[in-house]
């Protein structure tokens, strides 16, 4: 009897040790997994920041690109023109789609739009760029242009704006809508005067995030916006335009130190901009979530 108890106890202790070992191993491996990702992140940022700040000078901001040197003024300007153009084009249909899915989610159309928006997120950006090339650059004869580049970016931004505004609108309590409808307000008033203002932080976050995506995109612009060494002449079609991500890709392959410096500086600008937007939107969302928690209480 005593022997059995002892052997049972030994067996349990062995099992316990085994379980403990398995748990420690699990924690060790998952910590390692996180450290791998974290160190990659630090490595990328360190590379971009160290080399980028080394490459900075006043010329970068004040001069346009000249051959393999000069500055990035044309690219900085072009990036903002293209990204804002894309966002401005994407907001009306994107927001409308978000509103339709969130507010009038009764029929087939809403779920179809949502599903296709989700699929559109997954369409590779180069495919959208090539679509822009054959339809707008060649088909409509716009050549490399601001219009073609902005429309390509708008198509990329659409599903993001749509889904983030849908999510933001769904968080507006139903009682608010019921109260407004009970007071005799119509669909337009309830949506535009009450729900959209309440969901505005979430919607703006989505807009900001798609602005960050637009600023970081290269593939859809290569064959729609082209590249130009000069400042934008204000024409929407038939005029190519420069942008920062092109400078990163093209100038890092050049054998000249001056060109490489421009690539590093461009990478620094793009990364800083994207990081800033992500940090801001994270803070806005946290703030917003806090507000909602307090309101619920």
């Amino acid at each position: 009897m005593a022997d059995m108890v002892v052997s049972q106890f030994r067996a349990d202790r062995g099992r316990f040790r085994q379980r403990q070992f398995f748990s420690y191993l699990g924690w060790a491996l998952s910590t390692l997994a996180f450290l791998l990702l974290g160190s990659a992140m630090v490595w990328i940022l360190a590379t971009v920041f160290l080399r980028g700040f080394d490459a900075l000078s006043l010329t970068v901001f004040t001069h346009v690109t000249e051959g393999t040197g000069g500055g990035l003024l044309n690219a900085i300007e072009g990036t903002f023109v293209l990204a804002f153009g894309g966002i401005l084009l994407a907001i009306p249909p994107g927001l409308a789609a978000g509103i339709y899915i969130a507010e009038f989610d009764h029929g087939r159309l809403a779920s179809t739009i949502r599903f296709l928006a989700d699929v559109l997120v997954g369409v590779p950006s180069i495919v959208i760029g090539y679509f822009g090339y054959i339809t707008m650059v060649v088909g409509l004869g716009w050549k490399f242009s601001v219009a073609a580049g902005s429309i390509a970016l708008a198509i990329i931004s659409l599903p993001y704006i749509c889904r983030t505004s849908e999510i933001a609108l769904r968080q507006v309590p139903r009682a608010v809508r019921e109260a407004a409808y009970a007071l005799g307000a119509g669909d337009g008033t309830v949506t535009m005067r009450i729900c959209v203002p309440m969901a505005l932080p979430g919607i703006l976050t989505g807009v900001l995030l798609s602005l960050a995506i637009s600023v970081g995109e290269t593939a859809p612009l290569l064959y729609t916006a082209g590249w130009s060494n000069y400042l934008w002449n204000g024409h929407l079609t038939n005029a190519p335009i420069g942008y920062l991500t092109y400078a990163i890709w093209a100038f890092i392959n050049e054998p000249f130190a001056s060109a490489n410096a421009l690539a590093y500086a461009a990478a620094l600008f793009v990364t800083l901009f994207v990081l800033a937007i992500n940090v801001i939107s994270r803070l806005v969302l946290d703030e917003n979530a806090g507000w909602r928690r307090r309101a619920r209480r």
């Binding site: 748990s23 699990g26 924690w27 998952s30 910590t31 997994a33 996180f34 990702l37 974290g38 992140m41 490595w43 990328i44 590379t47 971009v48 080399r51 009306p92 409308a96 339709y100 899915i101 507010e103 009038f104 159309l109 739009i113 296709l116 928006a117 989700d118 699929v119 559109l120 997120v121 997954g122 369409v123 590779p124 950006s125 180069i126 495919v127 090539y130 679509f131 054959i134 339809t135 659409l158 599903p159 749509c162 119509g186 669909d187 949506t191 960050a212 970081g216 995109e217 593939a219 290569l222 991500t245 990163i248 890709w249 890092i252 990478a267 793009v270 990364t271 994207v274 992500n278 994270r282």
Partner: protein
């Protein structure tokens, strides 16, 4: 009648319309190439623009340059293999990081460390390319790959010439970093929002924290993991700039080991359009459009499948 709801619906249908337009216009533009190339497009291994200074000839009702032949098997293989490597690394690493971020860190640090991993998804593709090109490739090509080829050479495809650093494995590594946040963030959120009852029941039965995660919470999230991995696959398949800058842009040959240069469908479209424009018959540009059609079709199928899977997962958890 034009009321608010209808105007919204009209504007909203621009979103699905643009997806449909992409597919239709690409397919229509590529149609002559599809007819010319037939099935050989995906089974042959030669992308050849033909003799560009000769007179065009007629083949199967289409005007092409003599000797022109379009087969993209090497692109399909390169795309699938680099994606497979990325997923094979990203799933275990992503799950590990999600477990760590959901339970392993002190609560005050959690949002910051999670944010750090999610930022990996925000870094633009071309910045990954820059980093890979400038820093990672010299390191891998000079140190890690010769070492791996020497000591892991007994594993099939790990031996042979370690190459210069450009190639299949490097593309896989870079793609891993780009897609892993998708898996980690989705899984972490799902882990955190699992009902507290499950956790309490597991602890009451004597499970420790890791066993609770691994044996109780994680098995319930199998579909979330599968769904997010498929979404990540879709992203990896279509990734362009980073792969373009680190893959070595191989033309017309299949990889012989994991260090061999490759090319993917997405990056091939970027690297080849300039030379395709030299073809006076335009068939090369149309064949590139066919590459885009194939890529688009693959990503639509992959994404659609993942969304359907996630949709049913969301539905079932809402019902419970």
């Amino acid at each position: 009648m034009l009321n608010f709801r209808r105007v919204t619906a009209l504007l909203a249908s621009i979103v699905p319309a643009s997806l449909i337009a992409i597919v239709v216009f690409l397919a229509v533009y590529a149609w002559p190439a599809i007819r010319l190339n037939g099935i050989a497009f995906v089974t042959d291994n030669s992308w050849n623009l033909g003799s560009l200074y000769a007179n065009p000839i007629m083949v199967r009702g289409q005007e092409i340059m003599p000797g022109a032949h379009y087969g993209i098997l090497f692109l399909i293989v390169g795309t699938l293999l680099s994606t497979a490597i990325a997923i094979a690394i990203a799933v275990p690493v992503g799950v590990g990081a999600a477990l760590f971020l959901a339970e392993g860190v002190p609560a005050p640090l959690r949002p910051w460390l999670s944010f750090m991993v999610e930022l990996l998804a925000a870094i633009p593709s071309v910045v990954y390319g820059l980093w890979g090109f400038v820093v990672v490739i010299p390191f891998l090509g000079h140190h890690l790959y010769p070492f791996m080829a020497r000591w892991l050479g007994f594993i099939p495809f790990f031996g042979g010439a370690p190459g210069s650093g450009y190639g299949l494995l490097t593309s896989g590594f870079v793609l891993t970093l780009m897609i892993v946040p998708l898996i980690t963030a989705t899984l972490r959120d799902a882990l955190v929002s699992q009902p507290a009852k499950l956790r309490e029941a597991a602890v009451a039965l004597g499970a420790n924290r890791f066993e609770t995660l691994w044996k109780v919470l994680l098995p319930g999230l199998r579909r979330v993991l599968i769904g997010s991995s498929i979404l990540a696959t879709g992203r990896a398949l279509g990734e362009t700039m980073a792969v373009l800058m680190v893959s070595g842009n191989a033309l017309n040959y299949l990889p012989s080991n994991i260090y061999t240069p490759i090319s993917t469908m997405a990056s091939f479209i970027v690297s080849q359009l300039d030379s395709a424009l030299e073809d006076p018959t335009g068939m090369a540009v149309r064949s590139l459009a066919e590459v885009a059609v194939v890529l688009c079709a693959i990503s639509i199928v992959v994404n659609g499948f993942a969304r359907v899977l996630m949709y049913y997962e969301g539905l079932s958890s809402r019902v419970v």
